[in-house]
């Protein structure tokens, strides 16, 4: 059949500001046929996004295409003048970025941005393009298709913007569409709608597409073929069926193994004979930033030695809950007690013992570790601060802590910038462990990590609970992670607790409607799931979906 894109022996190099160029993509060859969706999967740093952009002959600032051929519609676009190559962008190839909220120009009306590319490339005049755009809006199930183009980006929701970006990419009827993690920034309930919209529009127009993602379940829904990448090289290539069910390469197998099954399919731990007394409890907590109330009357108990999973979409107030418990955000009403003792609201008024017993671990290990301190000082400070350890004893304990989180003792002399994301998160945890706390508040600690790395961190948390009897509040938007790990579940929506109980109760029928919506929205590693869930949604009365 007719091939749209062929990339041969591609080599891309990148450099840090002022540094020297080093290869980030090596010897990659691929091709995409008309009407075919090729998925590039891999973890961060695998070069998948970089490769997808080379299909437009484009390299991000700080990178350059060093070698290779990019054949688009029968000609090598690396051999034509830059101006001609630039003219192909938005004409023969178009691009959908990860975050629509950041990719729409905030100062221009949406409609103008949607038709801009074909208008510039002289495809048609503005009024007929606007008419075509309205047809696209209808196909994408956007509300008010006739007027939505007159709005500014800040006036529509994130999910709608993501669909509008699909319209923007399709407005020039490209031969090739590049989708770079187009649903990653979305909440799980919104993701389903957007995925469906993308799939529909690719199918309708028979466009060839490159779909970049790290999420295997998403790939299962949209891709015909999969290319697995690691460190800028192709590890395995094959049809979606084959990669998902009979992976050949060890790395692909690891990737598959790290994916957790859907929450309600997991074997749940047998309910404990009796719940141990709570080590930490928050009662009727209400908190606000200025006039905006973030938490409404939230109550959570953490039994000794157990894990309480808090789930909810962005803006549900789950991170605020952790900050209130840690005393970083003032609460308006309610109490927080640790081992029966009521805690002062502000961290400044809390005693050293209290602070030591309840530690918080932040989501982004990149920003949670001071870039100007060595690991030795980062871990040594709580040892000194809480336990007065100095000199030899302190160094020994630092080595023990590093060992506890599976890092070599030589890391003590490094700076955070010299560590990988997963290693940083381990140091982040080790810092909390240094205090030998009774409770650790984990705020999305695995969200910024790749699947395989995240799985490792979860295993570590589990073993620490079993060995040291630490309790956790584990906050996450990822249901599968929580279901695998938590004993108690708290489901939050818009600052309220909507569902709460032992895991085996929350994740077993009868479901709370919102919990059900969340559960059914998590993509399954099964082709055809997207169509099933859509059929199921259409049958469900809408008041249930609204939550």
């Amino acid at each position: 059949m007719n091939t749209i894109l062929t990339i041969k022996n591609l080599r891309v190099e990148g450099r840090p500001p002022g540094g020297a160029y080093v290869p980030i993509v090596r010897d990659v060859s691929l091709s995409v046929k008309k009407g075919e969706v090729l998925a590039l999967i891999g973890e961060s740093g695998s070069g998948k996004s970089t490769i997808s952009l080379t299909a437009m002959g484009f390299a991000r600032p700080g990178c350059r295409i060093a070698k290779g051929e990019v054949w688009l519609n029968g000609r090598d676009i690396m051999q034509i003048p830059p101006a001609e190559r630039h003219a192909l962008r938005g004409d023969e190839v178009s691009y959908v970025a990860q975050s629509a909220a950041a990719s729409f120009n905030p100062a221009l009306r949406i409609g103008r941005q949607v038709i801009e590319a074909p208008l510039w490339h002289g495809r048609a005049d503005a009024s007929s393009l606007t008419q075509q755009a309205k047809t696209l809006y209808r196909k994408l199930d956007l509300p008010n298709p006739d007027t939505i183009g007159d709005r500014f980006p800040h006036q529509v929701s994130g999910g709608q913007l993501q669909r509008l970006m699909a319209a923007m990419a399709m407005s020039c009827s490209p031969d090739l569409l590049i989708l770079d993690e187009p649903t990653t920034a979305l909440d799980v309930t919104t993701q389903v709608e957007v995925l469906k919209a993308f799939k529909g529009i690719i199918h309708d127009q028979g466009t060839a597409a490159i779909y970049v993602t790290h999420d295997l379940a998403v790939v299962a829904q949209v891709a015909d073929r999969i290319l697995v990448l690691k460190n800028g090289e192709i590890v395995e290539e094959g049809a979606t069926e084959q990669i998902l069910h009979e992976p050949q390469h060890d790395y692909t197998k690891t990737l598959m193994a790290a994916v957790r099954p859907a929450p309600h399919l997991l074997p749940q731990p047998a309910p404990a004979a009796e719940t141990p007394p709570p080590v930490l409890s928050a009662r009727n907590v209400t908190a606000a930033y200025g006039a905006v109330t973030i938490l409404h009357d939230v109550s959570v108990d953490v039994p000794k030695g157990s894990v309480v999973g808090v789930i909810g979409e962005s803006g549900s107030g789950k991170s605020t809950l952790a900050r209130v418990i840690a005393g970083l955000t003032p609460l308006k009403k309610g109490t927080v007690t640790l081992e029966g003792q009521t805690l002062p609201h502000n961290v400044k008024d809390r005693g050293r013992q209290t602070l030591q017993d309840c530690q918080i671990v932040f989501q982004m290990a990149d920003t949670a570790l001071n870039p100007r301190q060595r690991i030795r000082d980062i871990l040594g400070r709580p040892l000194e601060f809480y336990k007065g350890l100095k000199g030899q004893k302190r160094s020994e304990r630092i080595a023990e802590l590093l060992e506890l989180v599976d890092l070599p003792p030589s890391f003590a002399s490094r700076y955070p910038g010299e560590l990988s994301g997963g290693q940083k998160q381990r140091v982040n945890l080790a810092r909390a462990l240094a205090a030998e706390p009774k409770v650790i508040l984990c705020d999305e600690v695995t969200s910024a990590l790749d699947t395989v790395v995240a799985a490792g961190v979860i295993e570590l948390l589990k073993s620490l609970r079993d060995r040291l009897g630490i309790s956790y509040i584990f906050i996450s938007h990822d249901l599968s992670t929580i279901a695998d790990f938590a004993d108690q579940i708290v489901v939050m929506q818009e600052g309220r607790v909507v569902d709460q109980g032992p895991a085996e109760q929350v994740f077993r029928p009868p479901y709370h409607p919102y919990t059900k919506l969340l559960l059914t929205s998590v993509p399954k590693m099964r082709q055809g799931w997207l169509e099933e869930v859509q059929a199921g949604r259409d049958a469900t009365p809408s008041h249930l979906v609204q939550g």
Binding site: R15, G19, F58, P61, G327, R350, R352, L355, A368
Partner: protein
């Protein structure tokens, strides 16, 4: 998701690691020369600071002294060499005053927040609502001219912008997770300021120091040029320009030379600060279109 290359730069010699551009190298060289002259000036100047060496006023270059004489027949070269010391030391003291006030208040406002921040920020805003030169003129008008008044006034007037920079830095870094982590650990304000926030603000603060230093040279020599700064018989470059403007029509360069010297100092400083800031930046999308 971006695939930014995660590469450590290879360790080479100190000089090449500085990645000096040729503009920065020249600028640094000029600055070094002036600083050296400021230190050893009095020993190598051919004549005294206020010594009249020739009956001929506004002698052209080559006659009288090497660089000619000024309106009183003093040696321009000697006054230039003495002047670099006055000019640099006054600017340095002024910049230090600026920083002590600006940084202390700025970080205090960012960390203490609340009432203190509101009150100080409002006052600073009110002062910033004034052209800085105007503010300095008003104060000098009320107190009279002396070096103490001069240095204190200019230092305080300029500290408003340092306050703004350090307050913003303090706020930006103060909300980062590692500072929150320190707060959650129960660390005191002093620790958080000196161990967590300050080490992460050094680069922008150094750049700001360079800019303020340049600005204070311009400010002080501007005032001297207006006759409101350093007073005779001391040698100051700004003052030398003011003294010798009249000679311009008599073909004398006695006013242009010190003015050019000031420019060489400030331009070098500016180029150096720019190099320091540019080192941390990369390219943009615009540059990639033509590749």
């Amino acid at each position: 998701m971006s695939d930014t290359p995660d590469v450590s730069i290879q360790q080479t010699s100190t000089l090449s690691r500085l990645r000096l551009t040729w503009t920065a190298a020249i600028a640094g060289f000029i600055l070094l020369i002036w600083i050296l002259l400021a230190v050893v000036g009095p020993w190598i100047a051919p004549h005294g600071e206020a010594e009249i060496i020739s009956p001929q006023t506004f002698a052209p270059i080559g006659e009288g002294g090497i660089l000619g004489t000024d309106k009183l027949g003093r040696d321009v070269l000697s006054r230039l060499i003495y002047g670099v010391r006055t000019t640099l030391s006054l600017a340095l003291i002024t910049t230090i005053i600026t920083f002590v006030f600006g940084v202390a208040l700025g970080f205090a406002a960012a960390i203490l927040k609340g009432g203190f921040d509101i009150v100080v920020s409002r006052i600073v805003e009110a002062f910033m609502a004034f052209p800085s030169t105007m503010l300095a003129l008003v104060v000098i008008g009320a107190f009279g001219t002396s070096q103490t008044v001069l240095v204190l006034t200019v230092g305080l007037v300029m500290s408003t912008s340092v306050f703004r920079v350090s307050r913003a830095l303090g706020y930006d870094i103060g909300v980062m997770d590692f500072v929150e982590a320190a707060r959650a650990r129960g660390e005191g304000t002093w620790w958080i300021l000196t161990r967590e926030i300050l080490p992460n603000c050094m680069a922008p603060l150094i750049a700001e120091f360079g800019l303020r230093f340049t600005f204070s040279i311009l400010f002080l020599s501007g005032l001297s040029f207006l006759g409101l700064g350093v007073q005779e018989p001391a040698a100051d470059w700004g003052l030398m320009v003011q003294e010798n403007v009249g000679g311009l029509f008599l073909g004398s360069s006695a006013a242009l030379i010190p003015a050019a010297c000031i420019a060489s100092l400030t331009v070098s400083m500016n180029l150096l600060v720019d190099w320091f800031q540019q080192r941390q930046q990369g390219e943009t999308v615009l540059e990639k279109i033509d590749e």
